[in-house]
Amino acid sequence: MNDAAADMPAETQPPRRLRISVLRYNPAEPERAPRLQTYELEEADGMTLFIALNEIREIQDPSLQFDFVCRAGICGSCAMVINGRPGLACRTLTTQLPTKIALAPLPVFELIGDLSVNTGKWMRAMSERVETWVHAQETAQGADLDRAEARMEPEQAEAIYELDRCIECGCCVAACGTARMREDFVGAVAINKLARFRLDPRDLRDDGDFYELIGDDDGVFGCMTLLGCDDVCPKDLPLMTQLAYMRRKMAAAGWRGADGAAATPD
C-alpha cells in the first residue's frame, strides 16, 4: 500500500488485492504433483478466510477442496495452516493477514485433497486409545438408564465445561513439534480430554487408570512443552496449565504407584 492510500480515511481506502496461494494435491490423482496455486481476489469488509475461499471456489475454481460446516468456530472443520500456523479459516479475518496469504493442509492428518484433511479418523483413534468417555459403574445388566443423575455443583460443571469446549479441530496437533516428529504422541487434545474426565465425578477412573493410558513417552511425558498447542488453540483452552497439571498427577501416580501403593507385580 502506498503512502497516499495509507493517509486516506479507512472508509475511502481502496480494497486490498489478496493473493492467496494454496498448496494443492489430491491423493486420488497421484500423477499430478503437489503444487502451489495462487488466486487473486478483492478483500471485502469483514472478510474471513472462509469467505475468501468460498468466493474462490464459486467464481474462480470449483475444483478447490476445503472443509467447512458451521462458519462460526464451532465445528472445527476448516482448520488449515495459514501463513505457517494452524488456525480456523472461519475465525481468521483477512485484515489480520498480509496481502500474500499461504494456505496448506494441516500436517499429521490424512490428506483428503488440497486443504481438506481427515481429522475425524485421527480423533477417533485418539478417543479409542485414551478412552474419552465417562467410565461409570455399571450393573450386571448394563448401565442403569432410569436412575436420575447425581447433582453436580455449578462450579464443578463449569470447570468440566471449560475443558469440554474442545472442538477437535486438530490445530493443537498440527502446531505440536513433538507430534510432527513422533507420530505416536497422543497430543494436547487427548491429554486435555483426560483432564476433563478426571474432573468428572461420574467417571470412576483414578490416576492409576489414567497412568495406564498416558503414563509414558508417547503420552504426557513425551510432551516437550513447546506450547504451540496453547498458542494456536482457537478455543483458547488452557492447554499449558492442563498439560502441566496432568504431568504432575501422572508423575505422582507413576512415582508412588497408584493410591500410594507399591507397584509390585501380582
Binding site: D206, D216, Y245, R248
Partner: protein, 244 residues
Amino acid sequence: MSRLRRSRLPARLDVTQTLSGVALALFIWGHTLFVSSILISKDAMWTVTRMFEGYFILGRPLPVLVSIAVAVVWALLLVHALLALRKFPASYRQYRAFREHRQAMRHADTHLWWWQVVTGFAMFFLASPHLYKMLTQPAAIGPYASGDDVWSGAWWPLYLLLAFSVQLHAGIGVYRAALKWGLPGGGDGARTRRRLRVLFGGITAVMLALGLLSLATYLRIGYEHRDRVGERYVPASVAAPEQP
C-alpha cells in the same frame, strides 16, 4: 485400581530429567557468581577458591574437595544428558519434520527448545574438557592460575563458547521446566509465561554478562602474567607476615 500394570519408569525418568537439569542450572548460576568474584578483586577470587578447598575450616587447602564436587557435577551431567538425549530428533526424518515445522511456525517456545537441543549438543564437547581439567588439576584454580589457563593455555575460545551454551541452556531450561510442571496458583497461563520469560531472560542476561566480563578479566590477567606462567597468586595479607 491399586496396581500399575504399566512401567513406572517413564514417570521417574521424566522427573529425574527435570530435577537433574534444575540442579545443574542452580550449580552453574552459583559457579558464575563465584567465578565473577575476579571482578571484585584478585583477593576476592583467591578467597572463594580457598573456601572451596576447605582452607578456612581445615586450615590448609585440600583441592581434592574440588575434585569430588566436579565428579558429582559430572555424574549429574551424565544422567541429565542421557535422559535429555531421548528427546533429540532420532533420525533425519524426525529432524527434517521438526525443522520444517519450526521454520513455518516462527513460534518463540518452539525456537527455544531447538536452542536447547543445539546448546545441549554443544556441551557434550565443550563441558567435558573443562570438567576433566578441573577433576584432574583441582589445585590449578586461582587468579593467576586461571588467568594463565585462559590466555597462555588458550582455553578462552572454549570458555567463550561454553559461556554462551551453558547460560542459554540453563536459562531456557529452567523457564521451560517451570512451564512443563506448572507453578502453584498459576491461573492466567499467558501472564505466567510472560513473567517467567522476563525473569529468566533477565537472569540469563545477567549471568552471561558476568561470565563474559569475568572471562575478559582472566584474559587480561593471563596476558599480563604471560611471562610468569605457573606462579601462584598470594594475597598481600597472607604474604605480608612472611616479609622480612
